[in-house]
Amino acid sequence: MKVILKLFGKDSDLSVLSVITVCTFVVLILILGDKFFSLNNLQSLAYQIPEFGFLALAMMLAMLTGGIDLSIVTNACLSGIIGAYFLTGAVFPLNSPAATSAAIVIAVITILAISIICGTLNGILIAKFSVPPILATLGTMILFSGIGMAITSGKGVVGFPEAFMKFGSGSVLNIPYIFILFVLAVIVMSILLSRTRFGKKIYLFGENFTALRFTGVNTERLIIAVYTIAGFLAGFAGIIIISRVNSARVGYGDTYLLQAILVAVLGGVDPYGGRGRIAGVMLGMCILQILQSAFTLFSFTPYTKRLVWGFILLLVMIINFIIEKRRTSAPKAAIKA
């Protein structure tokens, strides 16, 4: 109990967020009751979360360094598209179970490899050319989408083998494979950020990259690594996306970009960098997904959903502002002139 209190005490955003989550939960339980907690509903939640979750993790990583990665969605799509060609038998025919397995393995590796390359491109532009992250990733976002369009001419790549589809829709003990994968990723990222030197350096970079440079840390390598990992996570998102919709095409997931930023900010990530925890982002995601499925149950249109999200985003930021203002107007440690 004490540990939990200590956890919350340190980070006021986290506590505000948890309160909101709990409230939303409670309200929904009261209104929806059994319908919400049905196995069906929870399971469908568990299927929907990972796709977006990987993207949110990627966005969070970039934002911790004070930057942003606008290219994660098109990265995922592009990687998915290229990998999909192996799955449809366009590269080599899938006329035996061995060939199919090989194709799946090659496809997965290719997707991850492409996504890593894309992420590294971002990192190089930002670290070696000093391009502001928003511009660099805006450019690569358009570039990746462009490559995808050029390759597919807008048509989707369809026709994946059964075995691959099973990954996207299969489960063990009623828990989907992809959800387990996602939880693993969350645990790894969490440890990476809070317990390793690499993670420490990321937070320090976001707080003051000049000072970090003066500390002797190779900041260029650090940034390239960060955006590469972000790309890597986007690659996972790509795999999950194509295994869920059984096709790969440009333009899927356009709305995810803004949602990812939303979720990160909601989760306490400071857009200027240096602050933010996985736990917060996860809470933010939970709130969003819960609302999302609640809306479906209420039959809200996708636009009304966006309305609520936009409203919540503004509300949270305004509340943060008010809290911060109250905190600094009564200074405890007087700053001498």
């Binding site: 317990r195 003051n208 003066f214 500390t215 002797g216 002139a337």
Partner: protein, 574 residues
Amino acid sequence: MVMYSYLGQEAVTRLNQQACKSARDFLREVPRVEIFIEVHSVSGKYLQIPEGRLSILMDRTIVSANNITKSFVSVRALDNVSVSINRGEIRCLAGENGSGKSTFVKVVAGVLAPDSGEIVVNNNSYPKLTPIGAINEGIQVIYQDLSLFPHMTVAENIAMNKMVAVHKRLVNWDEVYRVAEEQLELIGHLLDLKAQVGTLSVGNRQIVAICRALSLNAKVLFMDEPTTALTQKEIDRLLSIVMDLKAKGLSIIFISHKLNEIFEVADYITIFRDGKKVGDFENKALDKKSLTYHMTGREVEYPRYRRVSNDDLPLLEVRNLTRNGNYKNISFKLQKGDILGITGIRGSGRSELALSLFGLNPPNSGEILVKGRPFNIKIPDDAVNQGIVLMPEDRQTEGLFLKKSLKENISSTILDRIKTKAGFIDRKKQEEIAAGSVKKLKIRTQSVDTLVRNLSGGNQQKTVLAKWVATGPELFILDSPTVGVDIGSKAEIYELIHRFASEGMGIILISDELEEILANCNKVLVMYAGEILEILTEKDLDKPDVGEHILAVMSRSRIVDSAEKFKNGEAIPR
């Protein structure tokens, strides 16, 4: 008044200036003078001035802040402070960090409202001012960051405040250029009106800031630490401008901690200490020692450093190091236990040299040998691996993570050394090292989790020291380590430097404060315009007039005489 509205603002200003000139001598003796102007009929198409007499009242005192008290939560920043600013004088506000001088300026400029007291300007008494109100009364402040618009032209920056104050909707570019040109002419320095301010040197930017302040008919000009970022030439230029403004009747108040400059330029020195005014002194009534005494309330003597180590192996040797545009042919040797001072005015290449030794400014040619072996230091990582560390000039942007805790700052340099077997960060070790550093360096803080931005300047600087000491460096380069640090912490930091050197570290101390160099170094390099002009050994530093000699070399004035005289052991005239 009828006459004023027909003559226009410029004529009034000129009239005021002339009146000032005539009145100044009188004002030395009496507090108020009335000037009568006889007007004979003047006629012109638009001019109609009635014949008769015009009188202008001139007071000696322009602004008088009386009994100002200001508190922040638990700290009394100003305690019943009264200061009068007279016409045509140059006054310096001196005092340590936290003494209240900056708060005082903010109160007079209308940025802060005092808890009690009054500000009297132009015979109007105000319990408090607003920024616009202060500007309207002729009070202008040039802050350290100058508050300019880097992507806009010189002309715009100068004329901007005036344009806004006049409330016009449309921009009259001809007017803008005219106002800017006028101000520049008044100052006597010409700049390209169409140049973008961001491309100008710091000195020229300051000129733009001064012009802007003057464009609104400033009567009192406050300048906060104006010479911090200037080269010697620019400092000279600034001081001549200040003298010129004084002759025109303006009063200039500057905040400075550079004792040499204070004595060179100020007519009066107002000393603050712990929120109270210690007193107003005439320049000639004070000297460095008494000034320091009033500022700190105690006699401060810094013990000299003497090298004790026996190990003469050169830790660092630099041969003919050159970086185009920064420095040329730098050669020197540094041994264990040496505290090598590198001094020179800004722009002499000293900080650039330090950055090169740390890998942030790779040299074009020359050699760096660490413990006898040559190394290429291309990035800070290389330097740190060799045991060379740097405490940078600007601790807030380059040295510290302000929003992080003491503990995190101290461990930021040793992240690779505090890992557990599993490769993660050893939290316990982190805590231990931080606590140890706090104790060793006497950092005053409630806990190692305090955010660094809440620490005082001295303690922040000690944190930067601790951060690097934790790595066990061989060579520690300190660039201006006591800027903005109170005298108490200063002494403690010097003590620490002596201790580190005695324990075998090699130290390079870069500073332009003579006292600091003399107290701490056993060897000194004097740089000017990128070259080493002179190397002073421990024996040289023992000679009596070494301080004056160094000053002379630094500013390259009378260098030939003083060098000869110095070598002969003769006294050097000031």
